[in-house]
Symmetry: C2
């Protein structure tokens, strides 16, 4: 799998080159879910930032200001979960058009404050600016992880097993229901829409994987398994075989795909915003892994395939080998 010649990944790589190599206390620089700095007490400080742009990442047609407030924090917390860390503090930059009521900005703040309380995060600063063409939100979060426990994209080895913490494609299916106005039974549609509107960062699973040392590499699913597994493989210098039959595609996701004449696997592999954790684990730890998740009261992780030597990410289907594209949502494509 080659790096996309254009688009976000190429731009990030070119920018990273300009910014140069970080000093030794920077444990992780550009290219993982968070930057990580050595903290004097044996922890790493985790630092992440995400921007949501109206009509690119969200629309008020499907998301209330309050839901947007919670989601703008959640997507950052997912990056902290992807390092095995604990989120602590957040800053908010809120770009707000003059013609949108300030009462909605306060509703946004309410949703963000509720999510912050739920996840034990304190919002301690930021700024507000005018943004004539639409709402633009940037949240930056600081978290902590014991330095020896920190997980990253690099670390997967051949024969490691690949797991995901939950179902795939739900958020993408939920967004399609909203965008296309699909007619589905309420109990099918509701959890899918919930997955899009109110993503749940998998902080407990991330901490469990870091503390138990049961994972070798970890990333959160923001762009889709196809793209995010490729990130693990590229960072780890390995390839991967995914078994199509193992991908956890809920019946609701399949129903949405059927209505739109899409392949359910495409939603599962390339649908963004699942915010589940994708990780690799040594083959001899599979039983311990299920046991640890069960003891922690977490749903069992689902095994998707295996890390292999090489650099290819392959989807193994019933009708033979097939190479998946490896790129999910590309912001500039």
């Amino acid at each position: 799998m080659t790096r996309p010649p254009h688009g976000e990944f190429g731009l990030i790589a070119a920018l990273a080159e300009q910014f140069g190599a970080p000093p030794v206390e920077v444990r992780l620089g550009i290219g993982d879910d968070c930057a990580a700095l050595a903290w004097p007490d044996g922890h790493c400080l985790l630092w992440t930032m995400d921007t949501l742009v109206e009509e690119v990442h969200f629309t008020f047609a499907y998301l209330t200001p309050r839901q947007l407030g919670a989601k703008s924090l959640a997507v950052n917390l997912s990056d902290i979960a992807a390092m095995g860390g604990e989120p602590r503090y957040a800053l908010l930059s809120l770009g707000w058009p003059k013609d949108r009521p300030l009462s909605e900005a306060l509703e946004f703040g309410r949703g963000l404050a509720e999510a912050a309380r739920h996840y034990g995060v304190k919002v301690i600063g930021g700024d507000t600016v005018a943004s004539p063409p639409g709402v633009v939100i940037t949240v930056t979060v600081l978290g902590k992880v014991p330095e020896g426990e920190m997980l990253r994209r690099a670390g997967a080895r051949p024969h490691d097993l690949i797991f995901v913490t939950g179902p795939l494609g739900e958020a993408a299916a939920g967004l399609l229901i909203l965008q296309r106005g699909l007619a589905l039974e309420q109990e099918v549609a509701a959890p899918l829409i919930q997955a899009h509107v109110n993503p749940r960062p998998q902080l407990a699973a991330g901490r469990l994987l870091a503390g138990s040392r049961l994972a070798t590499a970890l990333i959160d699913l923001s762009d889709g398994v196809a793209s995010d597994l490729w990130h693990i493989c590229r960072a780890s210098g390995v390839g991967a075989d995914l078994e199509a039959r193992r991908l956890p595609v809920p019946p609701g996701v399949a129903a949405v795909a059927r209505q739109l004449h899409l392949a359910p696997l495409d939603l599962a592999l390339k649908g963004g915003e699942d915010y589940q954790l994708l990780f690799t684990s040594p083959p001899d730890r599979e039983a311990s892994l299920y046991q640890a998740f069960s003891q922690a009261g977490l749903g069992a992780p689902v095994r998707l395939g295996e890390i292999v030597a090489g650099a290819e990410v392959r989807l193994i289907s019933a009708d033979g080998d097939k190479i998946i594209s490896g790129t999910g949502y590309n912001h500039f494509a």
Copy 2:
């Protein structure tokens, strides 16, 4: 002086209330130039974030992408200077329209990287997103300051003297030259345009004031003396008398004001983006202050007036007392 009933300051206060009181290790939460966190080795971690929106905070008509890159870091570093701190690390979130060449994004990165090297800052992460209506940049910076040295907006006491580290109104005059196409001699126009295009965060002065304990309160001039002095007064529970004749208004600023039939004092008091430091200092330390700046090779700070009891910020003019409005550029006004 009362708080503006509408606009940014009201929104920030309402949001701050929703986010609640920070825990004890948060030395400064919402309402100063940076948030500050206790760091285990006796330092405070300083954390700031600023967003620049195309056609609100800048336009490519007057600023090259490379200049914008440097400026987007500089405005954050000014916030670190305003606490007496040293900047260390930055994350960049770059919102870029698809129809703007990626080569300009790389020029932006070049300018940011150059400024980062100049000020000893490492850019260690961030993200890039599509932003159809225009360029939106958020930079967040972490810095450090010895905990006992940290300066803040609160701390000014009656009889303290008020100082500024450099001339006032230059950046506002420079922007007016660009916007109105004013005809001025090159040697008059160039430094004013430079002040707008390439602001210099006063990091050395900030560190000097913090290390020498010669200041009681400190803020950077992003909105203008009228507004920023009001912030010091509100945080410190005091008032202030500014002497109009003492305001350092360079001849070029006066020339721009004359051409546009504006009062030069208005540019000096309400022109934003000076990024000089405004601070207060005990009256018996004035000589030590000039000496310390001189020994450090820094230009002498300029005395503007005096902190007084009460809550009013007054401009003392030759024709009697006059109350200035106390609000500078208000993002939502």
